[in-house]
């Protein structure tokens, strides 16, 4: 498998399009014959991150790198940032709006679920600037 790169833009607040990037990337991984169990871990983590950008940010981009040994994803948004990452990582902590909850999200479980599905996770955030979530799943 050679190195491949994909980029997606993610619109804030658009719950019709939320998941389009994850769906597209899942099709790519399927075509590359990645183990279905591994695909599921990657796309669940990616989808959690994509929905977070839609639900909690002003919008952002997703950068996906595939190489023979791993899949590396970078989810970057342009704000508002996460004030306390440790708090955000706690199960049950959520600032999700009523609209987000109506869509079936906002339980404060997403970041933890991301962590449970990946081999490496790093979250960096600066208030007013944005959040960068980087994760890797080994193939």
């Amino acid at each position: 498998m050679k190195k491949l790169f994909f980029e997606y833009s993610v619109e804030a607040g658009n719950f019709t399009k939320a998941g389009d990037a994850s769906s597209n990337f899942k099709k790519v991984l399927k075509q590359l014959n990645v183990d279905p169990q591994v695909i599921k871990r990657i796309v669940v983590a990616l989808y959690e991150g994509e929905v977070n950008i839609v639900a909690h940010s002003v919008g952002g981009n997703i950068f996906c790198n595939i190489d023979p040994k791993s899949v590396n994803l970078i989810l970057k948004d342009d704000g508002p940032g996460i004030p306390d990452i440790n708090k955000a990582m706690q199960v049950g902590f959520s600032t999700a709006s009523a609209k987000v909850r109506e869509m079936g999200f906002g339980a404060g479980m997403g970041l933890v679920n991301m962590k449970n599905n990946v081999d490496f996770l790093k979250i960096e955030s600066e208030m007013g600037k944005g959040t960068k979530v980087e994760l890797t799943v080994n193939l």
Binding site: T16, S22, Y47, E48, M103, G104, A107, G110, N116
Partner: protein, 114 residues
């Protein structure tokens, strides 16, 4: 149990995915919370939900859930049906409450995930 058995037990309507009704179902999860559904790791899983929106189908797609039952007489919009079709997901509508649907399926031997 296969999906067509479930359709019969629930006296439900198949909205799309008629070609996949012989798929095997082993476990059931009932939830309106997609955050919860996304944490489940189980195969041949059926999702029973009263939440009918695009993200219900996206969640099923990411979680490899091949059959979604909309309970409480919830209807699928054309957009939802298109997305389910595109992903080979069987979509079923049923008039029973969540509780009754679960009860009927449990009685017939379908297991809960935990």
């Amino acid at each position: 149990m296969i999906i067509s058995d479930i359709v019969e037990i629930l006296k439900a309507d198949v909205i799309c995915g008629h070609e996949y009704l012989n798929r095997e179902v082993k476990n059931v999860v009932a939830s309106d919370l997609m955050s919860d559904v996304l944490t489940i790791n189980s195969d041949q899983l059926l999702l029973l939900t009263g939440l009918s929106n695009i993200q219900t189908i996206r969640t099923a797609e990411m979680s490899d859930i091949q059959c979604v039952v909309l309970v409480r007489n919830k209807k699928a919009s054309p957009e939802i049906i298109d997305l389910a079709e595109e992903n080979g997901i069987v979509l079923i509508e049923c008039e029973h409450s969540t509780y009754k649907s679960c009860g009927l399926l449990f009685q017939e031997g379908l297991k809960s995930i935990y």
